[in-house]
Symmetry: C2
DNA sequence: TATATTTGCTCAAACGATTGCGCAGAGCGT
DNA sequence: ACGCTCTGCGCAATCGTTTGAGCAAATATA
């Protein structure tokens, strides 16, 4: 098809002429392969792109477009199956209806559920989510941030991998709203939604103490992450309150099955051997189970276990595992509420929310009383 | 700041004049709040936006830009922390470097892992992924498709929820490449990467038969989904080959724990009671375990179990569950390879791949011999 | 010296939507 | 007949990039 410049058509007076001109020069209309635009509809209906745009974006009444024009335009749009080019709209309006999600590990069921709810909440409001994964690496995190910013997302939800809020505070000030989820920064005004990890650590430990345990070891994940630190704080406080400060034992450094496995191997060789282990994640918990079994010991008869996170399968292990459960769905929903509040008001917010975790009592704790 | 039209500046001869004119009219430069564009760099360096664009997009040599110009431009871009507006670029180039992912359930660990690998593979090639969730609903699926298309994704990877390939074939023909993952359509030329579900069903059943089981029931997920049908086919074929066609028992209709639970309740009341159950998903398998335990029976002494999918926790159940494992990571990577092959060649491909699942033997099968 | 080639860069038109401003005609009052 | 408001719509700029075409000056060639 011969290309030609619309600017040259200034001499044409009205839309009918336009159409005639077009049909004169264009190859036979290939409905199926032409992509529809405002201007193609404009040509065929005889209204300007302005009017077409206003009708199809629901601004018809605001601009007093006649009913006749409205139905003509809408029918043509439906007939040719028009769908607006969001990219072009984004460029003009400086809004992408997209939120960026930065997670440490999408494969982790905990974050997968978080992502799932966030995606659903976004869809409800005609937003989409760009999901990125840092694999707990701060370098990747920085790269992901750059990607999301240049894609002009309207907001960023992040479970940060590092411990420095600076970059997120800068983004929140100069670019788009940032909401932290699951993990927060001490001393930062950034909004967040987390669970009370201190209370989680405290309650888990207290449950063990209530049952007569004194040699309680704790296997942690990434030391620098705030949830980990808070859980540890809960653990140590509970131990101290029970007069067990000299029994405090903290091992490990990764949220992984292997870390739980190896650290348990070591713990089982200690004297005195711990009577209970508090695992700071579900993966660590599985590692504990593996090591305990390999050692020919039994839960809870030989050693008790409390784990973090609530996974479906935990009730079907033998024994069922006592655990701290976090309200993931509520967290995700609140987080999105904050995000949209911030986007819609065009103001930065500083709401910081801590939801309460709950203790799920099962059979993995022996009573030593 | 007073707005003015660059078109009016035609009388200015060169960039120095341009700059002077600008600095005359503009308010004092607010470096921190102005967003940098090609044209702002153009003004400050004295080169045209064309040249700036070519330097910063790595086309400098192709267009013979002098070293002097290159370093000046690059330094200024670095100094003001320029990052290109991807939206504008997308509009112009008709390419978004984005792939759309449509999954039935992001919260399902199986699909979460798939998503995780796909996101990582995309990132490697400077692509991002928009992840959507259909909750196994064809209506949602259609909505997600529309969203992705109007966002002009460069390709769509989908684990389809329905059984009609028509819409995807149309998209693949008229819009962007489509690659199916995990689930395929019979009789469609659409490219896909799945595992051999027939063989999975066959092997699982044969393992039970080998161990002397004859009353083998199967609890399925969504009947219409292709993987489900293939697994069922494998099951029935194995039964027939062993002369057990009259013992074929297929129950259930959902990939969920509850479905597995309820159907097992019913199966346990049958006479003769099945000696083994083949669960077509991990969730169904957990439901079976729950029901068996509630009935006061034991696995594998009273009833044997083979499950589908490979989850970390399955080795820590008592007994560890024998299962069919799918190579999720390989699937995702191959799928992305096909996608990029199609995008880069601008051709549609019809590669259809079936990877082999593997049987993981554990302790949930009793030998009745 | 005249002509061809190369070098280094610019012009201006796209991409497809949104939107502030403005304008012609109808209706109405006086 | 004149001015006023209201109706219904269009003009043209704009968002920030990319890109085909082309141009002047410098250099090479004849």
């Amino acid at each position: 098809m011969r290309k030609f410049n619309v600017q040259h058509l200034k001499f044409l007076r009205n839309h009918s002429d336009y159409c005639a001109y077009f049909s004169y020069f264009c190859a036979p209309h290939k409905e199926n392969t032409m992509k529809e635009t405002l201007s193609s509809i404009s040509q065929r209906t005889g209204y300007s792109t302005t009017t077409v745009s206003r009708v199809l974006s629901g601004q018809a009444d605001k601009w007093r477009i006649s009913d006749k024009a409205q139905t003509e335009i809408r029918e043509e749009a439906a007939r040719c199956n028009y769908s607006p080019d969001i990219i072009a709209r984004n460029l003009r309006t400086k809004k992408t209806n997209t939120i960026g999600l930065i997670l440490p590990s999408v494969a982790n069921p905990y974050f997968a559920e978080l992502a799932s709810v966030i995606i659903a909440e976004a869809a409800k409001r005609k937003y989409t989510a760009i999901v990125t994964d840092t694999t707990e690496d701060e370098g990747n995190e920085a790269a992901n941030i750059a990607t999301l910013l240049s894609r002009r997302v309207d907001g960023i939800i992040v479970a940060p991998s590092g411990s420095d809020p600076a970059i997120f505070e800068e983004i929140n000030k100069k670019h788009v709203p940032v909401v932290l989820v699951d993990r927060s920064f001490d001393g930062s005004a950034l909004p967040y939604v987390t669970t009370n990890n201190y209370s989680g650590g405290l309650e888990a430990t207290k449950a063990l103490i209530r049952n007569g345990h004194r040699e309680i070891a704790c296997i942690q994940g990434i030391k620098s992450s705030v949830p980990n630190r808070k859980r540890i704080l809960g653990y140590t406080d509970a131990m101290k309150k029970a007069g067990l400060e000299d029994r405090i034992t903290i091992a490990g450094n990764e949220f992984s099955l292997q870390n739980g496995y190896l650290e348990t191997k070591l713990l089982l060789n200690r004297t005195p051997r711990p009577t209970a282990i508090f695992a700071l994640s579900n993966t660590i918990g599985l590692g504990v189970i593996k090591a305990v079994r390999e050692a020919g010991l039994r839960i809870p008869e030989d050693i008790s276990l409390v784990s973090y996170d609530n996974n479906m399968y935990m009730d079907y292990l033998t024994p069922a595992i006592s655990r701290i459960s976090q309200p993931v769905e509520d967290m995700a929903k609140l987080c999105m509420k904050l995000m949209f509040e911030s986007i819609e008001s065009k103001k930065r917010i500083t709401t910081q929310l801590e939801l309460s975790p709950s203790f799920i009592a099962r059979e993995s704790i022996a009573a030593l009383l």
